[in-house]
Symmetry: C2
Subunit: 724 residues, 2 copies
């Protein structure tokens, strides 16, 4: 007993030291694997896990071995060895069906039949007199995801006596999109610069690449498009392809496929041709040869992500061809190797249309059925551009013959960028759970995306990454929760945000119930808070120009009208909002009738989308009992108040958080509060010019007139290409 | 015994774990404070240090307390408490002369009199029956440097029974210059991007700022100019000054003063004036008011660093004034607050002169005696621009009435940038020990710089920082040694590089004699190696254009002749090299006669500077017995061979280095070897066109003709402003 006591003292002292010396810098993300605090839980686990046995050997199985040993040894605070054979001490046995006799024997047939690609089963079984934990799958990637799932359960303190889990991913392609330029900058990146050190690749392979791949694997992400959609043909130069191959070599061990963005004019820029016309045989040959060259270096290359004929990017329309012509040409080059094309629907023509919200639908829906089988159309959640809140994109459900892939934003271009605490999972969930009514009630966006609505073999979800060189990966520590939630929802779009937040809180910060509940509350409420202080009641696209930092409802002088703010909010003496009903742009007509009917009547339209679909008089009485103007003022103020509450909530759990991470979040919340006030003051003082109504006395009056807010300029706000 | 054995096992296991979990990412630099491995040494120290007592309280003394507790507790692997009073157990007693009766009593008068500003004494003394270690100084900064000195001794395993140290810094201003832009890019930065997050300052204060300041304090650096010399007037906007003040607040606790770069045209850009003429009263007033505004926010602001009338930067010459007029105007604004001006001598006119090497001297020497007392002229070590090796700058010793400050490069613009292992300390040492013969023999550059040659009160040394967002700070791990060495030499320019390298190796990697010796060998030989494979025999400025990455001896088509390579190497059918004797540009005439005489005769000129000063026929027989051409080939090849030897040396100490850092260096050495071969092949195949002589059979022939090497382009090589 005395020895044990002494031992624990030493452990304690060293534990404290190790924290002091290294600091809690957030680098480890949710994969912390620190000793489980609760003795009872740790001892229970310890009794059930004495060794790990991997029945088989391969690149990914070796990863599984390494991760399980590292993770479980850390959690149990003792060395859990990798067994050379399955012995009679309780432990973990891992293997692939059909490759492992132990697994084949252990798994009940009915269970085995339920397993799909990349799925896994985890269960307890008796073998040579002892209970073991089995991780079984149909393929290696399934085993990998099973291993990380088990680690997550152990990290979360879940009871494992009678473990019985079977999961298959609902979505096939689960990708991060990195808008990373080859010079190291990141478009719309707020976490430093690109983690890809193209200059030193392929010889210098940064340890971060491994840790990046691990983090992705741990949440089921199986692909990464590593270059910006505003693409650079230089990546097709042979030395750059070798650099990409070095990344792919690292990713492979974690089941992550590498994808590249294809600049449509690459045959001209990288190939020296005079055209990039997709129907030109020389162009087709160039792509075929280039794709063959890529697959020689990267046998499991995933395929291309393409932004074409949008915001100045080249595309097939330059040659009188359409999106299907362009996508199919690339798809034909990739098909022999099993590669795919993700063709983005974020397009709007260079001629200014009456309503930008309608364009993608108009361009793509007529092409339904014309795309090759290995093409997905990648659609942003809403028809404008990652606004704090958007109505769902009208294309969801409107192209039954084509797999539509979701493009969510994980980075926070319009949602507070690098500093605001805004849990995006609620926004994802809101979109995924929205009913399109495409095939009657229950035709949710989730069902469009997972392919179940129209029976597609291919399905996908992409998230625009928020990862950069910041030591904690995401700059803002709570941004880790967005990366985490994206992965979890891509695996299963029917998960609840609240559950995801609680998992993340436990793994990242503390198991204490108050800390878990508070963190989940903060994340859960924060998206609505952000909408309130930025763009309440369906307002959208009223931010600062270019960098999109801060409020800019006055922005009117831009190269094209649909880049301005006034185009979207349409404030005038009468009222506020964009009439998208039949009396206006009629964008509503692109939706299915049962969806449309919810929004077309100004009196019934849900308040969160009121100004998205209607131009509403300032003194119009809303369901809240307030006039539009008063409700607008109230919403802005409520947003500011709620940021104050976020600060209070964080302060209330200070005792459970280490100093370094506590301070990090605290400082960012200070910035968020200041900027929330800035949004409120700038927007209300601007809109007041039109409403000509008083800001209610209960709400702090703006400190300055609108002219002051207009003078604030921030030439070096991050996330845009540096200007020289 | 059994208990002890068990305890050690636990410690061992946990120690291994802690390494596994956190990885050895290099973030801790030389301030590692891991448990001293050797039991005997640790126990000896442990017997002598049971507590730390700080006699006094202040911002910097609190830092001292924190650093000593953290460092010594780590090294001794037990909690060393901060005492509330000096008790009779052996320990450390710290205080400032005149503020601490204990210190006043403990220090012998003769010793106290030797102490200067920022100097310190460390010695053992008996008090209330026990031996204590005393750290005494005349001021708080001295105590801080003393504390870090003691920690360094403990980290290095030095015997402390009879400690007796007294040191005063030889140089007053010891600064880092950060060429960091406000958008986060770093000009000539190869370690990621800027660590200053201007966007989130002043509210978000990154932990890195503290660790940056600590690292500087630990090697005696007492100032940092945080903005690029190619300056941006935006930094004078009130919100940016608040951001700068937040950095200064962090630095202050570590004795580091903040400096800014002043764009000469700021009165126009930031002040709305129509001129920046230094003799215009409105301009003078603008600067005075701006300086007053700065000092209200930053009471200990250091002053301005200025690049004027150079490479397109604005300056006094635009108004028909000279450098003294410009510098004195700023100096007058700063003088009431105790601020200084560091005016850079790196200037060359927009008209192309016959020899760029002569210009700074021509512009500045006539102004000697015209500068205010609070102005220093900051001079690069050589007259061109941080080449792998340069002759010393002719200005050293030539302006006896003006304090000249050294500007060394710590970043490696022309020395392998982010990947090559090149210990710069040898280069610093070579320059500092060079005799200018300004006041007869022994008038070394070091004596010019420390002010002793001409009796200046002000003295300074600046290093262009190699720090960026890379987790290990410097990108290349061995780049940490350059930062370290710069700091040590700025404190004492008479230290030997070999001693510095050994200190660094012990603190950073291992105490094992073989590891220490090998690392010091690698660093010590590597500068000469780099010179050999890049610019042997006095060649200079033959690198790729713009980014300066890789070889480019063929560069001839640039906006101005003195940006080309052919301007500097002057290769022709007859020979190679720049004649700077009386028969050529006569740049040699700017040096003092006894210096000049060493170089003016082609037969006596030391080989390392041969082509710097002479145009030498290809078949000219050198002192080595080789023709110039054969010697050139031999030198390039020798450089390549030596990089191979560096690889071998590193491999030979693998057992003493953790895996992560071993691999990091190994991968970079692979890049270095490839690039050394590239330099050799490209330069020899280029120069061979002129020499028309065979490359000796013993040397590998270039794999390609010179035309191939010319086609290699690297648009995104780091360290330059991104191009769009």
């Amino acid at each position: 007993m005395r020895i044990q006591h002494l031992l624990f003292s030493v452990v304690l002292v060293l534990g404290i030291f190790s924290i002091n010396l290294h600091g809690e810098d957030g680098y480890r993300l949710w994969l912390r694997y620190d000793k489980i605090e609760k003795d009872e839980t740790r001892e229970k686990y310890s009794n059930q896990i004495n060794q790990i046995y991997i029945d088989g050997e391969s690149l990914i199985l070796n990863t599984v071995a390494k991760e399980l040993v590292r993770g479980i040894s850390g959690l149990l605070d003792r060395n859990i060895p990798l067994g050379k054979k399955p012995v009679s001490t309780p432990g973990i046995i891992v293997g692939v069906l059909g490759q492992s006799a132990i697994i084949d024997h252990a798994i009940p047939k009915a269970e085995a039949e339920k397993l799909g690609p990349e799925g896994f089963a985890i269960f307890k079984t008796k073998r040579t007199g002892e209970n073991h934990i089995i991780i079984a799958a149909k393929d290696e990637k399934g085993v990998l995801y099973g291993a990380f799932h088990l680690l997550r359960l152990l990290q979360s303190g879940v009871e494992i006596e009678a473990l019985q889990v079977l999961e298959n991913p609902k979505v096939k392609l689960r990708l991060l999109n990195h808008w990373d330029n080859l010079d190291g900058t990141v478009e719309r990146g707020y976490a430093g610069f690109s983690i890809w050190n193209w200059h030193q690749l392929p010889q210098y392979v940064d340890r971060r690449y491994v840790d990046y791949a691990r983090a992705n694997a741990s949440i089921g992400i199986n692909g990464a498009a590593v270059t910006n959609v505003n693409a650079n043909a230089l990546v097709f130069r042979p030395d750059y392809l070798k650099k990409a191959a070095a990344l792919a070599d690292v990713f492979r061990a974690y089941g992550v496929k590498l994808y590249l963005t294809a600049r449509f004019s690459a045959p001209i820029e990288a190939g020296g041709l005079e055209t990039a016309d997709p129907l030109d045989p020389a162009v087709q040959d160039w792509w075929k040869n280039k794709v063959n060259e890529i697959y020689e270096l990267i046998p499991d290359f995933g395929g291309f992500l393409v932004k074409a004929n949008s915001e100045g990017q080249p595309g097939p329309q330059q040659y009188g061809r359409n999106h299907a012509d362009g996508a199919n040409m690339l798809a034909d080059a990739l098909a022999p190797h099993g590669g795919i094309v993700m063709w983005r629907a974020f397009v709007y023509s260079n001629e200014e249309p009456e309503d930008r919200a309608k364009q993608a639908y108009n361009e793509f829906v007529p092409l339904d059925g014309q795309f090759r089988e290995n093409v997905l159309i990648q659609v942003k959640n809403g028809p404008i551009d990652f606004q704090p809140r958007e109505a769902i994109h009208p294309m969801f459900g409107a192209m039954p013959k084509t797999p539509l892939m979701m493009e969510f934003q994980i980075t926070k271009e319009y949602l507070g960028q690098g500093t605001h605490l805004v849990g995006l999972s609620n926004m994802y969930e809101e979109v995924l759970q929205t009913d399109t009514y495409a095939r009657g009630e229950g035709s949710t966006v989730a069902k469009v995306i997972d392919g179940s609505l129209d029976g597609h073999a291919l399905s996908g979800m992409a998230g625009v990454s928020n990862i950069g060189t910041a030591r904690n990966w995401t700059g803002n520590l709570f941004g880790q929760a967005d990366w985490y939630a994206f992965g979890r929802l891509a695996w299963n779009p029917y998960l609840s945000s609240d559950e995801i937040f609680k998992e993340w809180a436990k793994m990242t910060f503390s198991h204490h119930p108050l800390a878990v509940k508070t963190i989940a509350d903060m994340l859960g409420s924060s998206h609505e808070t952000c909408v309130r202080y930025m763009t309440p009641l369906g307002l959208h696209h009223i931010m600062g120009p270019g960098h999109h930092y801060g409020p800019g409802p006055w922005v009117s002088d831009m190269p094209r009208a649909d880049w301005t703010s006034v185009y979207y909010h349409r404030a005038d003496k009468e009222g506020l909002g964009f009439d998208r009903t039949a009396s206006g742009s009629d964008a509503l007509s692109q939706y299915f009738p049962d969806f449309r009917h919810q929004f077309e009547n100004i009196d019934e339209c849900p308040l969160p989308f009121l100004l998205w679909f209607h131009h509403v008089p300032w003194n119009y009485k809303l369901s809240t009992g307030n006039s539009l103007w008063k409700e607008l003022c109230t919403q802005y103020q409520q947003g500011v108040i709620e940021v104050g509450q976020l600060k209070g909530k964080w302060k209330s759990i200070e005792a459970f958080i280490d100093q370094e991470r506590f301070d990090h979040v605290r400082m960012h919340l200070e910035i968020q509060e200041r900027e929330a006030q800035w949004w409120r003051n700038a927007c209300l003082s601007y809109f007041q010019q039109f409403s000509n109504m008083e800001i209610p006395a209960s709400i702090p009056q703006p400190e300055h007139g609108v002219e002051y807010y207009k003078t604030l300029i921030y030439p070096y706000a991050p996330g845009i290409r540096p200007r020289w």
